[in-house]
């Protein structure tokens, strides 16, 4: 009989090894999936992981990695702080949308004024929009004890309705021939989140994501607040005994993750996307949950996981166009990654042992 035996303390080696093992298992089982779909598994896996980095058109795909990875990392960093404390913000997608609406709205309010302060105002407005949206579940949880998972998730759909509404109304481009969608911020220089180095994909969102990683690392490892976050997640009663105020922690964690998601939305709408439109959001807020866990809720891990996830996105798109793999297969592939990670995670705290049946 095989039994799981709890380790006296979590294994360091396994906590580093599980993401790698999970990636390998995903490649194997993803390969099987692709083979069943009638594709050459090695070619498919190669396309997903190799092509964007070192393929013929890598010069085009590499900047895309930054563009896709930055919002994932930025959102995931915010989520990870809450997740560490057992506060589950599932609605980053909605906060991302609200950040984009607020950021773009602030910028468009100044149109066509040309001034250096417009972009900073948009940054603040974007963060505020996300913070505001995340503060709703935070406030309801603190005040009435509602479940933040449900409230934050449902607010995603409310945000989507808001997005549709402003695309068709408030923020609609007056010169857009009646088509839905706002003015293109890429062609409004004061509001444009342009690449810092042309052709590199490096925009302010990427810089902010890197700053967020460093900030989160310092917070969690060097600051009392970060210690309290970790303590609350690991032993809520001990946290209360240590003097942590749970309400304040909820407001902080949800608020900060909302602000970061809002920033991600704002950088996206003012840069790579350019336009507030009905189909502006593409699921970064949900994928970031995977990224947060794939990165073991550790800032550096999230940075790497965000890169990996961006890779599967872009590689997946290439595989779709070149090999004709269905989009759903790519999503299953990404889902496998999280599944295997969580499954192998067990080995951090438990060891597998063959046991003889003993009389208790």
């Amino acid at each position: 009989m095989i039994v799981l035996e709890k380790r006296p303390q979590p294994s360091k080696a396994w906590s580093y090894a599980t993401p790698l093992v999970a990636v390998l298992a995903t490649m194997v089982f993803g390969g099987i999936l692709f083979a069943i779909l009638g594709k050459n598994p090695i070619e498919a896996i190669g396309t997903i992981f190799w092509e964007p980095l070192f393929g013929e058109f890598a010069f085009y795909y590499r900047p895309q990695l930054l563009v896709k990875g930055a919002p994932l990392v930025l959102i995931a960093i915010g989520l990870s702080l809450g997740f560490r404390a057992g506060i589950w913000n599932i609605g980053a997608e909605g906060q991302y949308i609200m950040g984009a609406i607020f950021g773009a709205g602030a910028g468009l309010a100044f149109y066509p004024l040309d001034a250096f302060y417009i972009f900073p105002i948009m940054v603040i407005a974007g963060a505020f929009g996300g913070w505001l949206w995340a503060s709703i579940p935070a406030f309801l949880k603190v005040r009435f004890g509602t479940n933040e998972i449900l409230v934050s998730l449902m607010l995603v759909y409310v945000a989507e309705q808001m997005l549709a509404s402003v695309s068709l109304g408030l923020l609609k481009n007056p010169e857009g021939f009646g088509f839905p969608g706002s003015r293109n911020l890429q062609s409004y220089e004061s509001a444009h989140n342009a690449e810092l180095i042309a052709g590199s994909g490096m925009h302010w969102g990427v810089v902010t994501a890197l700053i967020a990683v460093i900030f989160a690392y310092v917070l969690l490892n060097r600051h009392m607040l970060g210690f309290h976050i970790r303590l609350t997640g690991e032993a809520p009663r001990a946290a209360k005994f240590a003097g942590v105020n749970p309400a304040r922690l909820i407001l902080f964690c949800l608020g900060l993750s909302g602000a970061l998601a809002g920033l991600a939305g704002m950088f996206e709408v003012s840069g790579p996307s350019g336009v507030v439109s009905i189909d502006f959001n593409v699921g970064y807020g949900f994928t970031a949950i995977i990224v947060a866990f794939l990165g073991r809720l550790h800032p550096v891990g999230i940075l790497l996981a965000g890169g990996l996830m961006a890779l599967t996105y872009i590689g997946g798109e290439i595989a779709q166009s070149q090999l004709g793999l269905p989009a759903a297969a790519i999503q299953v592939f990404q889902g496998m990654l999280l599944f295997f990670l969580l499954a192998f995670d067990l080995l951090t705290n438990y060891r597998i042992r063959a046991a003889h049946s003993e009389v208790a």
Partner: protein, 505 residues
């Protein structure tokens, strides 16, 4: 005299370091409600686990209706008509009542038949329960009914109940007692484990009292006062304190008119608690578990806040302050539950040193943590209190209970508190470690710290306390000087002579 239903003869069970049951013998008659009475750790659970086949005795025999009885596993015990309701339920929240009961049966009948039998039994015994309700929606009392009905469906000869009323409201207790009386009148024997004396006096025909694994006496509860039973539980071998005549300083902690509801549904609210502790004094708070000990610690640590004036430290009202502010002033606490309350299991000892030490040891600077100082503080605790661990980077849960307890107490003692409150400081700790913890508390008091020691170990309280009070259903008896306190008087203070309640209200 007729043959008893179950006869235990010189049952002995030893675990490493402790003899849980030492030559325990007693009989349970047919149709008798037999109480098994004892303090925590007296060996009650081990004894019933042997009867139920979960634990094998090292020596001794059991006779069921005169036949040798040695169940190798619970299934065998059940087949012989022994059923047990555990203190902690084993039910699946997501399944309904009937499904849960079916899961515990060897050959479950079809669901429809089972449901009608559940209805039948629940009506016969006055245990209202709908077989198709989801267990997750049931109250603790209703969950217990599921467990009881699961047992009754086996038509048991002996029903073992482990502290059944600890999770019940008074109304539910009444319903339970009616059911048990009905079972008795039908000839079912019940072995009733509890330390609630009044309940046993109402319900039980006979009581066996265990103390430190030994059968120390039997009595007929209805003819014995709660006080006498408490004395038997406590034993008459209490040591008289050797220290006396020490001078105390000013009042350090003054609690007056403190009443707080319990944060937990089944906790005990504190009712009009008064006490003062002077500098250098050790106040021992005794009482049977679950009478407000956790709440008292919580309200003193600042986890439960109350009106400002209810608690005063050196004359300053602190009732509204949180744990951090109280630590800053010098009021430190060590809770009973080591893993998860006093310490975070998966965090290192260094991080656990930070948990309460950050303010007084100056381990942070504007919120930024000083890890090297924190590590030195953890190392200081480890060496001063002889905590056996390879080093401060090890997780708290990797330590044995006694070593972690030394760490938790040491963490507070080394912060030089002005007031120290400890709950069960030596619970589950070996004798040598317990002695060193007690000594450190005494040394602290000698330096002028006011100490409140909450404990269920009366010997311990007699050894270290200058004055003694007991918690009983959330009320604290008036503290009295330990010197000259007799076992009689202690029994009266903690045994809950119910006449006193009227006087207090």
């Amino acid at each position: 005299m007729t043959t008893p239903l179950l006869s235990l003869q010189r049952l002995t069970k030893a675990y490493p370091g402790v003899v849980a049951n030492d030559q325990v013998s007693f009989d349970i008659g047919e149709g008798e409600v037999h109480a098994l009475l004892g303090e925590n750790g007296a060996g009650k659970s081990t004894l019933v686990k042997m009867i139920y086949g979960l634990v094998k005795p090292d020596s001794g025999t059991m006779l069921l209706r005169g036949q040798a009885f040695a169940p190798p596993e619970p299934r065998a015990a059940r087949a012989d008509g022994i059923a047990m309701v555990f203190q902690h339920f084993s039910l699946f929240d997501a399944l309904n009542v009937a499904e849960n009961i079916a899961l515990g049966m060897e050959n479950p009948p079809p669901m429809g038949d089972l449901a009608s039998r559940i209805r039948e039994v629940s009506e016969t015994y006055g245990l209202p329960l709908d077989p198709f309700r989801t267990v997750g929606d049931l109250s603790a009392g209703e969950r217990q009914r599921v467990e009881i009905i699961r047992c009754l469906l086996q038509d048991p000869k002996l029903l073992i109940m482990d502290e059944p009323t600890s999770v019940l409201t008074p109304q539910e207790v009444e319903i339970l007692f009616e059911t048990l009386n009905k079972l008795r009148s039908e000839g079912t024997s019940i072995l009733y484990i509890s330390h609630k004396l009044e309940e046993i006096r109402t319900l039980c025909d006979h009581a066996t009292i265990l103390r430190l694994g030994k059968n120390v006496g039997e009595c007929v509860p209805s003819e014995t006062s709660a006080r006498d039973m408490a004395e038997m539980m406590v034993g008459s071998t209490l040591q008289t304190p050797e220290r006396s005549g020490r001078e105390f300083g000013d009042v350090a902690l003054d609690v007056s008119g403190l009443s707080v509801p319990s944060p937990s549904e089944f906790g005990t609210a504190l009712k009009n608690v008064h006490m003062t502790v002077r500098k250098g004094e050790v106040l021992g708070v005794g009482g049977v578990a679950g009478n407000g000990q956790d709440e008292l610690l919580g309200v003193l640590s600042g986890e439960i806040q109350t009106t400002a004036d209810a608690i005063k430290f050196n004359g300053q009202p602190i009732g509204k302050l949180g744990p951090t502010a109280r630590r800053k002033l010098g009021v430190l606490t060590a809770p009973e539950e080591r893993l998860g309350h006093a310490a975070a299991p998966d965090m290192s000892l260094t991080e656990n040193a930070l948990l309460t030490g950050s303010v007084r040891e100056g381990l942070e600077n504007n919120g930024f943590l000083k890890w090297s100082e924190t590590k030195s503080f953890a190392e200081k605790i480890i060496s001063a209190f002889d905590v056996r661990t390879p080093g401060p980077e090890n997780a708290a849960r990797s330590l044995s209970g006694g070593n972690l307890q030394k760490f938790v107490i040491g963490r507070e003692v080394l912060q030089n508190p002005d007031v120290l409150v400890v709950n069960q400081p030596t619970w589950g700790v070996d004798a040598a470690a317990a002695a060193s913890i007690r000594q450190s508390i005494l040394d602290l008091a000698a330096k002028g710290t006011a100490v409140i020691c909450i404990s269920q170990d009366l010997d311990e309280l007699m050894e270290i306390s200058d004055s003694f009070a007991a918690l009983n259903e959330g009320r604290l008896s008036a503290p009295r000087t330990t010197t000259g306190l007799t076992v009689d008087e202690i029994g009266l203070m903690m045994g809950g002579a119910h006449g006193m309640e009227v006087a207090h209200v």
